[in-house]
């Protein structure tokens, strides 16, 4: 199912989004929207349960802080466990997509 694929994918994208440093939810959403050419933009609200779930699993750490514009926002950053998880998931995703691409590129039985 597409939604299942999306949940798993969303987690990797979120982890990737904060892999360069702490970001708040809005920034994470904007990065995903921009880099995935709006694939996710229909319901960016699903981002937040994903963020909370990852935080609960301690793959993300959270901290309230002040943005450049002086507003309070919650920033998420990658924990060591989160970074390890991201690396593993990226490797898995590569293997998976390579396999699927190879299969789809096949020309006959």
């Amino acid at each position: 199912m597409a939604s299942d694929l999306f949940v798993g994918t969303l987690d990797i994208l979120v982890l990737k989004a904060v892999s360069w440093g702490p970001r708040h939810g809005y920034a994470v959403g904007r990065w995903i929207r921009e880099t995935t050419e709006d694939v996710l933009s229909v319901h960016e609200g699903v981002l937040y349960p994903a963020l909370h779930r990852l935080e609960r699993r301690e793959l993300l750490a959270e901290e309230w802080s002040v943005t450049e514009t002086g507003r309070e926002a919650k920033f998420y950053s990658l924990t060591p466990a989160g970074r390890a998880h991201l690396n593993a998931e990226v490797a898995r995703w590569r293997r998976f997509s390579h396999a699927v691409s190879t299969a789809l590129a096949a020309t006959g039985a």
Binding site: G25, G45, R56
Partner: protein, 908 residues
């Protein structure tokens, strides 16, 4: 290395956290759309649309936050506990002597308490091992009985039959009576006396216990001339039949008659268990053989002979008061119809079976529990003292932890963990003691009700652990308070001399220990004096040099004194004669209920010629005068026992069946029947007995009073009948030696019996002195326990006092050194330290004496022949306590005098 930092705290309110996070997102998105040229309204709508269902997502996030907070709290708590336990174990391991002393002291205190609670739980609290036991009651005849305050006695056969037919409140009722049987060896084993019970066929159903094998009794079994069947107990099945499943249908010889075994009861079933019923019914601690209760025509007529116990199950929904109202209705019926045997002030009464067992020992057991509670308190005080001494050395550690940011709560929890480790170790040892209680009891005490039900169950474990937990928290609180009090007094690094505040606290603890142990000592002292007084009571007979042995005539299912009585009497009389003729024997005789064994039978009597005076009309003009204990005797019983003849004669060969019925009565009987009449004047007077309606009995002799039921029971009127005129199937024979020890005559007693009938055996063979001792078993048990608790308490208090004074001397080394350097004599230093210890002791003794005066009032009902305020006991205990305290103080005081001033002054 594992994680060393605690998981960080979370924002406490998940609702606000999520809401502000989402608001930030929507605001930023709105701004983004506005930058693309939308109006603020349009932008807000667009932001919301791109977000999705805001409310649903907010709710989902909030739920996640709540779960997360719960998980982290739990994890933080586990993490704290694990750290605290590790830390606590490390701390204890650093001072193993302290840990061992504390654990052992606690094990002593909690262990004693757990052991006694196991007893209390088994005897007073646990449900009885029968189905729906709350609805089981014993039914008794009630009223002002012959024994003064005693108000319950058995039911007569006709009254039982009527009661069973007429009751509306009882779902079922079953009578039973003690019936010993001799199980013949049948060539494979020794003959064995079994403690049996003849019981209404409804007995097992009333108790709600099914046989393990085979069946119980049917109404058909209780028919006169019906089949002779028996049900056996599990132990007997294992012991005599090797647990063979084909035991059903097997024939056994019981007291000379063939019976068929039809059932085996489950393990632990031993109803009636003697110790939970009034002792007068003669039941043994456990019953292991049951036969149907069959009534003869004659028994059905004897309304005045009360010899049946009855257990009943209340109908569902019927309360005890309702049942008693119902029984009273029947009693009034009896009183109207049979005024001769059932007077207006008599009643029928139901007592819960559990209460029946618990009532005689409840007060004693709770007092014991109280005593052991004091021991527990004292051991806790000792441990608190140890902890206080130890905490003094740990101020630095706690100051550092606080400085590093530990909250008060964390420090306190750490202390709780540490102390709970200590107390739990103590509790674990204590549970061992509780478990051992059962083994010790099984070996020593057959007299306590419900001994079988004493076991370590969930309640015992729960209460023990709860006590350990409570003690741990209390210790932690005390230590925390002490540390808190110190915090302001001076930081780490100041010289370690204890402030007066702490010294006072520890002295208060020790004074309390002295006071509590004094309370215990007074209690133990009073019980001991009471026990000594009890042993001094003249029982009315001389026990030394007398051997006693039971002898049971063979009686099968058809108990028929009219048919067999003459044979029993002949046999018993000739056995008594043979015994009396033995060279080593001065006199010998038999009795139906040996004094102080608890065996008692009562009968109502009427004084001949008083009907006019008392104005009781009708029924042959035989008024009822009262109840008296009676015993059937054979041979030279009174001389063998050393019971003095006051007037008249003892029984002799003239008193045979068919001759004028005669009685020997006790002096108390004369006082009761004819106040003011001398023993000599009572001779020749006549008594009507409810049991033999035909002719009055003539008094031919008056003997001295004998303590029949117990040494501390009031003297009761007693009547004795000759076995020739009052057939009785089992007697206890007593033989008085000519100065030799009692046991020497036993082989001759056995040989004499074998000469008469080789198939019969003596049972319950023991010197009369042992019978007297056994009658004091309960008091001896209580006195021994109380004395051990008091001794333990005194030792603990002495150790506590020693500890405090020793610590104090160690802490005052400098001060004492200065005193010595300035010219104080060792003698004056000794006096200084001793005064210090004695002040504490004096305070404890004074408080203890007041406490003991108050507490001894609770003991009053347990005392015999000594007042609860007996000055000798109080003085002796105070002196003993002071002496022990002085000794405990003297050791460290001596050490103080040997201080070298030069060394101590350089010390700090």
């Amino acid at each position: 290395m594992k994680r060393t930092l605690r998981p960080s705290d979370v924002r406490p309110d998940p609702r606000r956290d999520v809401a502000s996070e989402l608001r930030f997102h929507l605001d930023m998105r709105t701004q983004e759309f506005m930058e693309r040229g939308m109006s603020p309204d349009e932008a807000r709508r667009a932001a919301a649309a791109s977000f999705g269902d805001v409310a649903a997502i907010e709710a989902e996030c909030r739920e996640l936050r709540v779960q997360r907070a719960r998980e982290r709290r739990r994890r933080a708590w586990r993490w704290d506990v694990a750290t605290d336990v590790r830390y606590g174990l490390r701390t204890l391991a650093r001072s193993p002597l302290f840990a061992a002393a504390a654990v052992l002291t606690l094990a002593l205190g909690i262990g004693a308490a757990a052991a006694v609670f196991t007893l209390v739980n088994g005897v007073l609290l646990r449900p009885l091992p029968y189905a729906d036991p709350a609805r089981l009651v014993m039914v008794w005849t009630a009223g002002d009985g012959a024994r003064g305050r005693e108000t319950q006695w058995p039911i007569s056969v006709p009254n039982y039959v009527d009661l069973k037919a007429q009751s509306r409140s009882l779902a079922s009722v079953a009578a039973f009576r003690f019936w010993p049987y001799t199980l013949a060896g049948d060539g494979v084993a020794e003959p064995e006396m079994l403690s049996g019970s003849r019981a209404d066929p409804d007995l097992f159903a009333t108790l709600g216990v099914r046989p393990l094998l085979g069946r119980g009794f049917t109404a058909d079994d209780a028919r006169r001339g019906g089949p002779r069947v028996a049900v056996i107990g599990h132990d007997l099945w294992q012991r005599r039949f090797g647990g063979a499943p084909d035991v059903l249908g097997r024939q056994v010889t019981l007291s000379g008659e063939r019976f068929t075994i039809v059932g085996v009861m489950p393990p632990h079933f031993a109803f009636p268990r003697g110790a939970e019923l009034p002792p007068g019914l003669q039941f043994r601690p456990r019953t292991e053989l049951w036969t149907p209760l069959v009534f003869t025509e004659r028994e059905l007529q004897r309304r005045g002979v009360n010899n049946l116990a009855a257990v009943a199950r209340l109908r569902p929904g019927v309360t005890a008061p309702q049942a008693n109202a119902d029984l009273s209705r029947i009693a009034r019926h009896f009183a109207a119809e049979f005024p001769l045997y059932f007077s207006k002030d008599m009643d029928l009464h139901a007592v819960s079976l559990k209460e029946q067992a618990a009532a005689p020992v409840r007060r004693g057991l709770w007092l014991l529990m109280g005593a052991v509670g004091l021991v527990l308190l004292i051991s806790c005080a000792n441990v608190a003292n140890l902890l206080a001494a130890q905490a003094a050395g740990r101020e630095r550690e706690f100051a550092i932890r606080t400085a590093l940011g530990a909250t008060r709560r964390r420090v306190f929890l750490q202390l709780v963990t540490e102390n709970v480790i200590l107390t739990s170790a103590g509790a674990a040892l204590a549970l061992g003691a509780a478990w051992a209680t059962r083994l010790v009891l099984a070996r020593t005490h057959g007299d306590l009700p419900r001994v079988d039900d004493v076991a370590v169950d969930v309640r015992v474990v729960a209460v023990t652990l709860a006590a350990a937990l409570a003690a741990g928290v209390a210790f932690a609180a005390a230590t925390a308070l002490q540390l808190g009090a110190q915090a302001g007094a001076g930081g780490p690094g100041t010289r370690a001399t204890a402030g007066p505040g702490r010294r006072f606290g520890r002295r208060l603890l020790v004074a309390a220990e002295v006071a509590l142990s004094l309370v215990l000592l007074v209690g133990a002292g009073l019980l001991t004096r009471s026990f000594v007084e009890l042993q001094r009571v003249e029982p009315g007979f001389r026990a030394d040099g007398v051997m006693s042995a039971g002898l049971l005539m063979p009686i099968g299912s058809t108990y028929d004194p009219a048919r067999d009585g003459a044979h029993w009497a002949d046999f018993f009389t000739s056995y008594a004669q043979r015994l009396g003729a033995l060279p080593g024997v001065e006199a010998a005789g038999g009795v139906s209920s040996l004094p102080l064994t608890g065996a008692v039978e009562t009968a109502s009597f009427g004084v001949d010629g008083q009907e006019a005076a008392r104005g009781t009309p009708g029924a042959g003009g035989r008024p009822q005068t009262g109840e008296a204990d009676y015993a059937v005797v054979a041979g030279d019983y009174f001389r063998a026992m050393g019971v003095p003849l006051v007037a008249g004669r003892m029984f002799d060969s003239r008193d045979r069946d068919g001759a004028t019925p005669v009685l020997v009565v006790s002096a108390a009987f004369v006082r009761r029947a004819w106040p003011g009449v001398s023993a000599a004047e009572a001779l020749g007077r006549r008594i009507w007995l409810g049991s033999t309606a035909e002719v009055p009995h003539t008094i031919v002799g008056v003997v001295g009073d004998v303590r029949l039921t117990a040494l501390d029971a009031a003297t009761v009127p007693a009547m004795y009948m000759p076995v020739a005129q009052y057939p009785y199937p089992f007697l206890t024979f007593v033989a008085r030696t000519r100065g030799a020890s009692a046991a020497t005559v036993l082989p001759q007693m056995r040989a004499a019996l074998t000469a008469l009938d080789p198939s019969m055996a003596l049972h319950d063979v023991r010197p009369l002195g042992a019978v007297v001792d056994a009658s004091l078993a309960r008091q001896r048990f209580a006195t021994t326990l109380a004395a051990s608790f008091a001794a333990a308490a005194l030792v603990l208090a002495a150790v506590g006092l020693y500890g405090v004074i020793a610590t104090s001397v160690a802490q005052r080394t400098r001060e004492l050194g200065v005193r010595l350097a300035l010219g104080a004599t060792p003698r004056s230093v000794l006096a200084l330290v001793l005064r210090d210890g004695m002040r504490t002791t004096a305070a404890g003794v004074a408080a203890g004496l007041l406490g003991a005066l108050a507490a001894a009032r609770l003991l009053r009902s347990q005392l015999f022949g000594v007042s609860a305020t007996d000055p000798a006991v109080y003085v002796a205990v105070a002196v003993l306590t002071a002496a022990v305290a002085l000794a405990a103080t003297y050791v460290p005081a001596r050490r103080a005098t040997r201080l070298d001033p030069a060394v101590t002054l350089r010390g700090d």
